[in-house]
Amino acid sequence: MRRRPSRDWLWLLALLALSGLLGSAQRSAAAGGSQPWFAGAVRSALIPVAGAIANLLDARDAYLFSFVSAGEVRRLRAENARLRLAAALYEERLAELAGEVDSLRRLMRLPKLPGRSRVAADVVASFPSENRLLLSVGGNDGVRQGMPVVDGNALVGVVRDVSPNSCTVEMVSSPSLRIGAMALRNPPAAGLLRGESPTKLILEFLDFNVPVGNNDLVVTSGYSERIPRGIPIGRIFQLEESREFGSRRSQVFPLANLGTVREVWVLQ
């Protein structure tokens, strides 16, 4: 009886050491934009289950919503049909213009713009306190590290690491993510955007004298290999200036609903 607890302590210490080893394997794989093989295997096994749970919750929400307001459901269905028609018209025109831009860039021997094609993905898991999302698409679908992820309105985040059938997205609200952004003005005010909280982002301007104001739309600047120019990010709601230190920054409210996003597009 006296030997048993000491053996259990050994098991505990061994498992704690193993935790450290696995953690370090995950960190080094994530630095290279991937996940270790064992994490990929666990994800492959559990993502279908996570997807089924998400679908069940969607069905529960839809049922409760329809129960509360049948009239609202009818109105939203009609609006959905109208918006589908409008989107189809815009998509045709957009594809035509994008083709024109591509051929002009080819003529000028410029590289192809990123973000031309997109992959639809489900958010199978959300970790808001860590500013991460797990998506149902991965390397097998053409997803690569650094690709931007958008919902219907705006930029949600950037792909952080990729497994064959899944990927992790770092949301714009993450303090460790830096994105080139600009306030839409004439001339545009460019700067570097970072996250602070799910409802507040910080845009630090490069030029102190460029005009900006509250409610200005902030979009991606396109000074990146993978993130195209012009993806909406949010709106400025407060400006902070410090002439002594020559710094100027603004607080930005994100347009994407980071807490409840369920379906997204990965721009390739």
């Binding site: 696995l22 559990l46 991460r132």
Partner: protein, 164 residues
């Protein structure tokens, strides 16, 4: 079921594996299942509740597996999550050995071990804001404590606590 109790045989292993897998898959939807802003920690709930039927060695293994699955799904912090869950699982099993089995023990142990695991994570990198995280920890521990009631009652029908 063998005389020594615990999650013995293939049945016990299968139940533990299925419950931990389901819990890890469910954790990504924890926000949608929040009550008054408090989110449950499903892998920790399952690991601690199952640990109440196991020896401290089994508890540590269950905690480790819960943390491992959770860290793999999240894609970050695997080391910290597995570390804190291993300690929580070990303590859950040890507490049951000290206090004795029963539903009130289950609620108290799951509450305490959830709080300990989350407090441990608070002091591990990356740095977090202390006061909001403390509030979240209390909310999660309470939610887990409440969820432990039906889960323990269900498991108690099929398994007996292991003899230390």
């Amino acid at each position: 079921m063998r005389e020594r109790g615990g999650l013995t045989g293939w049945g016990g292993v299968l139940v533990a594996a299925v419950l931990l897998g389901l819990a890890a898959a469910m954790q990504g939807q924890a926000r949608r299942l929040a009550v008054f802003g408090a989110e449950a920690d499903y892998p920790l709930l399952v690991a601690c509740t199952l640990a109440l039927f196991e020896t401290s060695r089994g508890g540590a293994v269950l905690g480790f597996l819960g943390g491992f699955l959770q860290g793999c799904m999240a894609g970050f912090g695997l080391g910290y999550v597995a570390f804190s869950r291993t300690i929580a699982g070990y303590l859950a099993a040890r507490s049951r050995e000290w206090i004795g089995p029963g539903l009130p023990t289950a609620v108290g142990v799951v509450f305490a071990c959830t709080a300990i695991a989350h407090l441990l994570e608070l002091f591990l990198p990356p740095a977090k804001a202390v006061f909001p995280s403390l509030g979240d920890t209390i909310g999660t521990a309470t939610y887990n404590g409440v969820l432990a009631i039906p889960l323990y009652a269900l498991l108690n029908r099929f398994f007996k606590p292991a003899k230390p």
